[in-house]
């Protein structure tokens, strides 16, 4: 069989699209971002409990008293878990994705219902969209739309499109042909036949499709979180990255609350707006529990609550921005920092977020997986990131994107990569010791993401040099590796894992780094700060600060420990506490001319 170079064609196709249709993608991105920002602004404006009240009144109106009460309880729970902002961000994302998906899928479904050819053409396309692994679609989405919400929305809506189209088509095809014929026999225009007969009768099925679109969108949220959409998906990813089962559960629960609420509400909405549904609902005897306010009452309730919400937004304590001072170098300029949820990355990122905010910058931090992070940096959507291991571990990325990146220097080092075993593995001390004992370890080296630089190094160099042919390097993920380690450690099973220093696992478990006398892993890396091309020129002060930045091992582990202690979601508080305990660091790492003086004119 000749090799079909399908992948190359796709590659060049994507490249061509990126270079030639960027105006189109920018336009789409603008629309998506605008919608998202608008909805998110509305949702996050009022006090959480007030918005929970508004959502509860909606539920009361659509489904009854019990639904209203449960809805309020659910949203209050989200608020009490400190996940309100994330939940609203996720809700906005799902709403935007759903709206766009419906705008596309309902007309497509109608078209498919009217033409067999269209239906036959659409079907395989929908299959492709629905079953193609979502990560495969995510990376091109980043190339087209950049990191963050637009890429997440596009990936979500592509995934969620199919049921919208299918259910619309099905709904319309299910309408009794005699009714359509009757409409035609009375001279109805095709458009009116669609609007007055087919769509109203197909509405219950279409609403089931809407429901599916929303549910699929929510299930996609976690994956979208990998491209920096934040929200509950981001929290889940972060929790997975840190093996934090508790946070993962809480964020997951938040998604479940949203899912149930949206599911019940769209279901009820289908009944409300479809004439047949209204008839069916009218037949059911009302009980106290299913009591629903009249639409007018519901509208009044929502409006009153919304007014209160708006009023509080106006009169409430808006943390006024302090007047410009000499230390206000940033003057509200925005800087975006991306990070991979590795401990030193989190610590340094939040450290810089705090430092820069102290200096008057608006800082946005977003977490990504490694590949999207480098893509985003290379395309200039991220300003800088602090966690690049060079020259060895991230060599692949540097090779691919180096030209589009600026290296702002090393701030920590040296690091090391290694294979580690629990210290109860008495006789295993060097890599060479592994060779004869593959049976004991089950012939497995538990690895991390196959995309990680150290995995390439391990497979290509280390295994060969030490003759570890009896082992299979098992690809997986960092959390999976850590979970496997935890399990084996608890049972005192033999295990050998890929690990690196600094890593919190060394303080958590009693581990042995296997010696590498032949230097197969290479000399240690330094942790570098990388920025997009030209960042230092745009922000000379920040560029200078980052170039001069360095941390000692004591400082880094101290900060990491503080963050671990404060718990998830309070990283910046931990940084503040830590800075308070280590005075002077702010001025050392982010020095300002004449700091504290009155007449510090900017030079």
């Amino acid at each position: 069989m000749p090799r079909l170079h399908l992948g190359d064609w796709v590659d060049s196709g994507v490249d061509w699209l990126v270079t030639h249709l960027s105006w189109l993608f920018d336009a789409v991105k603008g629309v998506v971002e605008g919608m998202y920002d608008g909805i998110d602004a509305v949702l996050t404006a009022p006090e959480p409990l007030l918005l929970a009240g508004i959502l509860a009144v909606l539920a009361w109106w659509l489904r009854g008293l019990v639904a209203g009460a449960l809805g309020f309880a659910g949203f209050a729970l989200i608020d009490s878990l400190d996940l309100w902002e994330e939940a609203m961000s996720t809700l906005s994302l799902v709403i935007v994705a759903t709206v766009i998906a419906l705008v596309i899928s309902v007309p497509l479904g109608i078209w498919a219902a009217r033409s067999k050819a269209v239906s036959a053409t659409l079907r395989p396309v929908l299959d492709l969209l629905q079953t193609m692994p979502s990560m495969v679609l995510l990376i091109p989405a980043i190339l087209f739309f950049g990191m963050g919400v637009p890429a997440g929305v596009i990936a979500t809506l592509i995934f969620a499109l199919a049921p919208g189209v299918r259910m619309t088509e099905l709904g319309i095809r299910q309408v009794d042909p005699e009714l359509v014929e009757a409409a035609e026999a009375f001279g109805t225009k095709p458009r009116d036949t669609l609007l007055r007969v087919q769509l109203p009768l197909a509405l219950p099925t279409i609403m089931a499709g809407v429901n599916q679109v929303i549910m699929l969108g929510l299930s996609m949220v976690v994956i979208a979180g990998m491209v920096g959409t934040g929200g509950l998906g981001g929290s889940v990813n972060e929790a997975i990255g840190r093996l934090d089962i508790g946070l993962g559960f809480e964020a997951g629960l938040g998604i479940v609350v949203l899912a149930i609420y949206l599911d019940r509400m769209t279901g009820a909405l289908g009944t409300r707006i479809s004439p047949l549904g209204r008839r069916a609902a009218a037949k059911v005897r009302p009980t106290v529990w299913s009591h629903r306010p009249r639409p007018a009452v519901a509208v009044v309730g929502v409006v009153v609550l919304a007014l209160v919400a708006g009023g509080m937004g106006v009169f409430g304590s808006n943390p006024g921005t302090a007047g410009a001072s000499a230390t206000d170098v940033g003057k509200g300029e925005e800087i975006t920092i991306g990070y991979i949820p590795w401990d030193e990355g989190i610590a340094s990122t939040y450290l810089w977020k705090e430092l820069l905010e102290q200096r008057g910058f608006e800082v946005k931090t977003t977490q990504y997986a490694a590949a999207p992070l480098y893509t985003g940096l290379a395309t200039g959507q991220i300003d800088f990131q602090t966690d690049s291991w060079l020259p060895t571990t991230h060599a692949e990325y540097w090779k691919k994107y180096g030209k589009q990146l600026d290296d702002l220097g090393k701030w920590y080092g040296p690091t090391s990569l290694e294979l580690s075993v629990p210290s109860y593995m008495k006789d295993v001390n060097t890599l060479a010791d592994l060779r004869a004992r593959s049976a004991e370890f089950g012939g497995r080296i538990t690895g991390i993401e196959p995309s990680a630089g150290m995995m390439g190094l391990l497979k290509d160099k280390v295994v060969k040099q030490y003759g570890l042919d009896g082992y299979r390097v098992v690809d997986g993920s960092t959390p999976a590796m850590l979970a496997e380690l935890k399990r084996a450690y608890a049972r005192k099973d033999p295990i050998v894992v890929t690990l690196w220093s600094p890593h919190w696992a060394y303080s958590e478990y009693d581990l042995k780094k296997l010696k590498d006398p032949e230097g197969a892993w290479g000399a240690g890396d330094g942790v570098h700060t990388l920025s997009r091309n030209g960042f230092a020129a745009d922000h000379p002060e920040v560029g200078a600060w980052l170039k001069d930045f360095s941390m000692t091992e004591r400082q880094l582990t101290g900060l990491e420990a503080q963050i671990q202690k404060s718990g998830k979601g309070r990283e910046q508080d931990a940084v503040r506490t830590w800075l308070k305990d280590n005075p002077g660091l702010l001025d050392r790492w982010a020095p300002v001319d004449g700091a504290g003086e009155k007449s510090g004119a900017a030079g």
Binding site: E178, L179, E181, A182, A185, F186, L201, L276
Partner: protein, 360 residues
């Protein structure tokens, strides 16, 4: 003013190479030959005329092409060949927009399974055609209410279709068709889905309405009894062709072929036949000279039987001018009931004839 509706050599062929198929049909090919090529001839060379105020029934079994024929009359299906003339206007030459206009204003339709819109109330259903025409709400509701009243549904306006029985639903369907004041009513097996008793009611009601409204109606059915009851003229279809087109009596008394003849075996003749069909026109001239009761040509069969039972001699039939046009001997009545029109044959029994013929 001659006919309201006329069809001129209508053909409808489904499948590939339709024009070629029509050509072959014109040259005498039959349905089966075409079917082998994957084309289906639904209607073949249908020509008929319907006069104003007439009920024209198209009768045939399922698959005979009668529903396809009906749908060509209002342009829901476009004929493969031939023309449909409605009030002298060629419907097949009209564009979509004009055709919709004709359907909205002049031709309405009643369906087999009622085809009521489940998401509209009875009143909204009845007023649907008017809504399509753009009639303002007040007038629309008033006319729809009136149409419902005509169909015996006064007071049900606010109900929903699924709350009504089948018969009542079809009354709504009828009201919907009548509300637009269309001249031509197409009824597609409209009463077939109803119980026998309800069906009779609906037939009676249609006939009653027709006496005052004088619509032109094309009625499709597979039930010959229904066809005979309703039809001023009946066209019998078989395998896409009209095999006979005539009055109920024509079909009953002079079936065009064995197929039609086999059809009419089950028909209740006593309900259809009148004196004019049964009477003997071979007259002596003095049959009406007594004072006994006489019949006219439209006297129904059952009444003739009753009269015959009271008389000792054949019933005389007089026309509108009291001229003698025929006589109905009792033997003829019995013969028609049994579908036996020949003369009695002689019998060997001595009771019958005075003469004795010895037999072994």
């Amino acid at each position: 003013m001659s006919s309201r509706l006329e069809t001129d050599h209508l053909y409808k062929v489904f499948g590939r190479r339709q024009d070629e198929a029509v050509e072959r049909l014109r040259r005498g090919a039959d349905r089966e030959e075409l079917r082998a090529d994957g084309t289906t001839a639904a209607v073949i060379d249908a020509s008929f005329t319907v006069d104003p105020g007439q009920i024209f029934v198209v009768m045939g079994l399922s698959g005979s092409g009668k529903s396809t024929l009906l749908r060509m009359l209002n342009g829901l299906l476009e004929p493969t060949a031939g023309r449909v003339l409605f009030d002298g206007e060629d419907l097949t030459a009209l564009g979509d927009r004009e055709l919709r206009e004709v359907r909205a204003r002049k031709i309405s339709m009643v369906f087999q399974h009622f085809a009521l819109f489940p998401h509209r109330s009875v009143l909204e259903n009845a007023g649907y055609g008017l809504a399509v025409q753009g009639v303002p709400r007040a007038e629309r509701e008033q006319r729809a209410t009136e149409a419902l009243r005509l169909c015996g549904l006064a007071g049900w306006e606010k109900s929903w279709p699924d709350e009504l029985s089948g018969g009542m639903q079809q009354r709504v369907g009828l009201a919907r068709a009548l509300a637009t004041d269309a001249d031509l009513l197409l009824m597609d097996e409209s009463f077939s889905a109803l119980d026998p008793l309800i069906r009779r009611d609906m037939q009676d009601q249609l006939l009653t309405l027709q006496q005052t409204l004088k619509k032109t109606i094309v009625f499709i059915t597979h039930d010959l009894n229904e066809a005979m009851r309703l039809g001023d003229r009946i066209a019998v279809m078989r395998d896409g062709r009209i095999v006979q087109n005539g009055t109920a009596e024509d079909i009953l008394v002079r079936p065009a072929d064995d197929y039609v003849a086999s059809f009419i075996q089950d028909v209740d003749r006593s309900r259809v036949l009148t004196a004019s069909a049964v009477m003997d026109t071979d007259l002596r001239g003095d049959e009406a000279d007594c004072d006994c009761a006489t019949a006219n040509p439209d006297t129904p069969f059952t009444e003739l039987c009753a009269m015959s039972a009271r008389l000792t001699h054949p019933v005389a039939v007089l026309d509108a001018r009291r001229e003698l046009v025929g006589v109905v001997p009792r033997r003829r009545l019995v013969g028609f009931l049994g579908d036996e029109h020949g003369e009695p044959t002689a019998c060997g029994d001595p009771r019958d004839e005075g003469k004795v013929t010895a037999r072994a």
